[in-house]
Symmetry: C2
């Protein structure tokens, strides 16, 4: 089965993590890429599960040696995707999903044109707002700021290959499975299969 | 739901008709385009089901008035796809499948870049050969000729968007359903959906 790289974006509150959790539990051949970061580990986080937590020196060495698929700096910390584990999982025939913000997805599209990009959309701004409020952990200003950012991000959905509406987790998961299964049938990913049928008697 | 146009090709013996039959019976929103031809109707054929049988004058009038999505002439007869019924079915949200040979599919790809092209492959040349022999209706020369043509046609599979292997009817039908469902999620086919979410409060 042909492996492939998938970028997965969506505004805060669109439900990316929940959808990914269910998707990964249901599918053995779909994996998620773990990012590397120089920021402090939070108490509940596990090294190698949530992130690879490394120091600046190690991260910059990886950048110099061209070992990062993409990276960026926010608030003085590096965040990025190490190339080697992604390649390994793809070569083993997996679909590898990178949960990544809009700019990162754009960078990867430039570098790897055969990446599949998926944008997770809330069914409406109203639903997004009530999901953000439902968290109960953020004040009015933060929520309003997130909504402004969300609208900007959703505008970028036009540049993605696919748009999945997260009306229910089940529908969203099924849509992503459908996209990945269809992409595996692309003739550009099956050149060996075609030439084998022609070659054999 | 967004409608779309699908071209569907494959060598003689690949099982296109059987796969289409099952696909259409299972899916209310997948339709097949009926071709128009000037050739004689065969006894078992039904006008409006197998083809629209028309005279040369009527066909040529349609060509002149730009009412054909594509057409070609073989052995002195015209064969082609009338545009209007296809548009109507697509506008109603259907996936409309055109069973068409390789050259016809190429022409349509040029004219309608957002067409989805699917090539149905036999699992091997051996299987194709035994399917052709299984028909029991053709002599050795005809079968050998069909196999030469088939190999040429399979070489064109590289130019199609998707390749579906017809190992079993069920798998082939499921793959085509998957492709159509994924294509319906393409952001290029969902621009209204994106702008509606942004516009609403």
């Amino acid at each position: 089965m042909s492996g492939l790289l998938v970028t997965f974006s969506g505004p805060s509150g669109s439900g990316k993590d929940t959808v990914l959790d269910v998707l990964l539990k249901k599918n053995n051949n779909i994996k998620v890429s773990i990012s590397m970061t120089t920021r402090e580990k939070r108490e509940y986080e596990v090294d190698g599960t949530h992130y690879y937590f490394v120091d600046r020196e190690y991260f910059e060495k990886n950048i110099k040696e061209n070992k990062m698929l993409e990276y960026a700096e926010y608030n003085g910390n590096y965040y990025g995707t190490p190339q080697a584990p992604v390649d390994e999982m793809i070569n083993a025939g997996n679909a590898v999903i990178l949960e990544i913000e809009v700019q990162g997805a754009e960078k990867i599209k430039e570098k790897c044109p055969d990446v599949v990009s998926i944008f997770l959309m809330p069914p409406s701004m109203n639903v997004l707002e009530s999901r953000l409020r439902g968290r109960g952990s953020e004040d009015e200003d933060t929520i309003n700021h997130r909504l402004v950012i969300a609208r900007e991000e959703i505008r970028k959905a036009y540049d993605y290959d696919y748009v999945v509406v997260n009306d229910t987790i089940e529908n969203a998961v099924e849509s992503i499975e459908t996209i990945i299964n269809a992409e595996r049938l692309k003739s550009s990913r099956n050149k060996n299969l075609i030439s084998e049928v022609i070659r054999n008697v």
